[in-house]
Amino acid sequence: MTTRVAAETTDAELVQRAKAGELDAFEMLTTRHERRVYSLAMRMLRQEQDAEDITQQTFLSALENLDGFRGEASFSTWLLRIASHAALKVIRKRRGLETVSLEAATEASEHFDSIPHPEFIADWRQSPEQLVRKHEIQRLLDEALARLDEKHRLVFLLRDVEGLSIRETAEALDLSEANVKVRLLRARLQLREQLTQTLGDPATQVVRSHPHEH
């Protein structure tokens, strides 16, 4: 039995209908969120085939585990959680890392004391509104993102690009909020550093011969 799905139907309603056996509802959910999941996967893995695999895995997993989804987090947050873990798994596999314990070991060093200070500081020549209209900008953004450690990149993508709260990000990645904050800061500072080198107006560059004193 197929039922038409109105465009205004919320995700929560679609989830209920999918749980009740409506395939159309689940397909609608998929259509709504597939680009978002694919984008996250592409930004994490930088390869179409891998991103496709992750995207497919994510929705198949959501389908399989739909009964257990209780709606405490939003459906899209749940999808991003599944996709994030799948992406990290692929990255670890690429590097030949067997266990998660390596992660835990490096976690101890994640503290605000060890955050590097900004180095290249300048005012940007153009506003974001002007910049987004340029074709080259997307490539610049992607390249800067690709240079981040994947742990930092993922937090930035979830929090700043996807708009999850610190808490939702922490829950999606099984991290403490404190951890999320440190990773987010590192990501933001590193992206700022790289983008400013290209987009900064050299005429406004701050040149410091000594470290920050106050």
């Binding site: 259509t31 389908l63 399989e64 004391d113 200070h117 933001r188």
Partner: protein, 81 residues
């Protein structure tokens, strides 16, 4: 306010969720510190740029393949019920 303290609160300041007293400290510091003003401004612009990016388009035919796979799985799942 020392540099390290400022750095530790940078996220909250940029996101506008910082405690008002700390916010005051921040602004006081920034009023006399051009580099910090620029860094904060740079970060805001960085986030704005990334937020404005459009999602990737799915590769040709992937949407079709994905939905085919879902339908297969759905059939399997509901057959065994």
């Amino acid at each position: 306010m020392k540099c390290e303290e400022l750095l530790a609160m940078l996220n909250e300041y940029v996101d506008g969720t910082v405690d008002p007293t700390i916010c005051e400290e921040f602004e006081k510091h920034m009023a006399g510190c051009n580099p910090c003003q620029l860094v904060v401004d740079n970060i805001r612009k960085t986030i704005t740029l990334y937020k404005a990016g459009r999602p990737y388009e799915l590769p040709a035919q992937f949407h079709g393949r994905l939905h085919d796979a879902l339908r297969e799985k759905w059939k399997e799942k509901h057959k065994s019920k």
